[in-house]
């Protein structure tokens, strides 16, 4: 199998990456070079009973992990907080939604 310019642009959109026109042909060629080697997987002979075992999954453990001891307070990770929520910079497309930040150096929504 191989990818086209359109495939790579579609995948880039899914991955939140912007690919400019000058980079696109090289990326398509590189990915097709890699996929050509990966296609060797299609020749593997798979025993009939193996596929079922391979997707059986891992046993789950209890979700009882203790809380992580943090070196710094949780609030230190955001430019500002309000009522225990992180405030992040407002984006232009969000218009006037949300209240203003309590911190002078941050404008945004929780």
């Amino acid at each position: 199998m191989s990818v086209t310019n359109a495939d790579v642009l579609h995948v880039a959109q899914l991955a939140r990456l912007a690919i400019d026109d000058t980079r696109l042909p090289g990326l398509v060629a590189e990915l097709n070079g890699i996929l050509q080697h990966i296609d060797a997987l299609q020749q593997a002979v798979i025993p009939a009973d193996l596929a079922a075992r391979a997707v059986a999954g891992m046993p789950l453990r209890n979700d009882d992990t203790p809380s992580v001891p943090l070196q710094r307070a949780r609030e230190a990770f955001a430019p500002a907080t309000r009522d225990g929520f992180f405030l992040v910079p407002r984006l232009a497309t969000h218009g006037d939604a949300g209240a203003s930040a309590s911190s002078s150096d941050a404008e945004g929504d929780a």
Binding site: L17, I19, I34, H37, L41, I46, P66
Partner: protein, 467 residues
């Protein structure tokens, strides 16, 4: 070898050596950040009771530390300081070790040469025109140059063993689940391991023993007890230390792709193992040739998910933009280097609608076949496998430009990551003055037998004047 010889290397000695080799335009560029003042101050007050009391160590820059930044070799995380510490780092510090710095690496551990670091390549101490291997090239170079004698790295497809081979030192990847990955920045979670670099097998076994063990913060970390690995790495019987041991020689690892000079060193090592009392037999791991294709489906697939968090909101230096999607794209596109971008695109593609069964599910199934190959060989009475670590010695900086050619540098190491078994590399000779690594692999959680074989081989090589 002993704990005392490791302790003989002081923090002051480390800084003298660092000043001699790391900085400047022709320096190794092994470190991305250092803590000279803090480590010297710690050395003055450290006790003497710990196994590593006062021993300087270096940490790969994708393991979280409390005061030094953790950048993963990426511009995206420039200046990022973790709010918590990796378990493996904490365990070293609790044994008395002193962290002197964070080491250079391929961005987000994606590479085999350390050329993909956003902060410039690391040079091989043996020949500075050559790469140290990767992705843990900074840690390998720091140990090989004698700045430290113990360092931590990480492995997803060979990123400890391959640079250990290129730099002429010992590199260990323990069993999946033996060492906690808490605080290791995730690349491909089903393949990621924390590993150890050292100048000899005993030190590597000691380091592995100290960082191993159950950790409630890593759900994949085993509760099995950790044996005294340092004892396994001590050669007691100098005549026939490997009597009763069966060493497998996988025929698929000795093909035309292998440099004949490396093959010759492997053959010599196998002869030494026989002389040490081991039985050597040819074995077959028939799905070996599919390991690289499997790896380059699964690792990018997992990476595309794990690296979604670097969006300028959860993690990463944010680039401003008018809209949310534009902000994500600008942040990620400007922050990720070429190889990371390539692998995210590849991973997103193989997971996307219409291709999941053909690539991801297929690769998972073949991974099971590769794992069964190993289980069958070990069930048939083989205790360890011996192979070359890499198909070539260290190549020149800039010499390998095709992505897939670079991937083939890990052709002998990715299988152990896919199967989750322990593996290690140690020096077995030189080719044109460049180190050659030999690899031992063992059954899951049998690091003890692996270290026993490696220590005996190291002893035999030393008796003949060294590798």
């Amino acid at each position: 070898m002993s704990v005392e010889s490791l302790k003989a290397h002081s923090v002051q000695t480390a800084w003298s050596q660092y000043d001699a080799v790391d900085a400047g335009p022709t320096g190794l560029n092994a470190f991305l950040s250092v803590d000279r003042d803090g480590s010297l101050a710690a050395a003055k007050v450290i006790g003497t009771n710990g196994d590593l009391s006062g021993v300087p160590v270096a940490i790969k820059d994708n393991l979280a530390t409390l005061t030094l930044p953790t950048t993963c070799g990426s511009r995206l995380l420039e200046g990022y300081v973790s709010p918590y510490e990796a378990t493996a780092v904490r365990k070293l510090r609790e044994a008395g070790a002193i962290v002197i710095g964070k080491t250079n690496m391929d961005e987000f551990a994606m590479g085999s040469s350390t050329e993909n670091s956003a902060y410039g390549p690391t040079r091989n101490p043996v020949d500075r025109s050559r790469v140290p291997g990767g992705s843990s090239g900074g840690s390998a170079a720091a140990v090989a140059a004698g700045v430290v004698r113990l360092a931590l790295g990480s492995e997803t497809g060979g990123s400890v063993r391959q640079p250990a081979a290129f730099c002429g030192i010992v590199g260990v990847k323990p069993t999946y689940g033996r060492v906690s990955r808490f605080g290791l920045v995730a690349y491909a979670s089903s393949l990621d391991h924390v590993g150890v670099f050292a100048q000899n097998v005993f030190d590597a076994a000691l380091g592995t023993e100290l960082i191993a063990g159950h950790d409630p913060y890593d759900a994949t970390c085993s509760a099995l007890p950790v044996p005294a690995l340092r004892q396994s790495a001590t050669v007691a019987d100098h005549a026939q230390p490997l009597a009763g041991l069966v060493v497998g020689r996988p025929i698929e690892y000795f093909t035309e792709a292998l440099d004949p000079r490396i093959r010759a060193h492997c053959d010599t090592s196998l002869e030494r193992l026989r002389a040490l009392g081991a039985e050597v037999r040819d074995v077959s791991l028939p799905h070996t040739s599919l390991a690289i294709p499997v790896y380059y489906v699964l690792a990018p697939a997992e990476a595309s998910s794990n690296l979604a968090r670097y969006d300028g909101v959860r993690y990463g230096q944010r680039r401003s933009a008018d809209g949310l999607r534009e902000m994500y794209e600008r942040t990620r596109t400007s922050g990720f280097g070429a190889e990371v971008t390539r692998r995210i695109l590849l991973g997103t593609y193989v997971l996307s609608a219409g291709y999941y069964d053909a690539y991801y599910r297929r690769a998972q199934t073949v991974r099971e076949l590769i794992t069964q190959d190993f289980e069958r060989v070990f069930a048939d009475g083989v205790h360890v496998l011996f192979t070359p670590t890499a198909p070539t010695p260290a190549f020149r900086i800039g010499e390998v430009s095709d992505p897939y050619d670079m991937y083939l540098s890990d052709i002998y190491t990715v299988t152990a990551n896919l199967a989750g078994i322990p593996a290690m590399s140690q020096p077995i000779g030189l080719v044109d003055g460049l180190p050659v690594g030999g690899q031992f692999m063992a059954a899951r959680f049998d690091e003890a037998t692996m270290f026993k074989a490696a220590a005996a081989l190291e002893y035999a090589i030393a008796q003949e004047g060294g590798a």
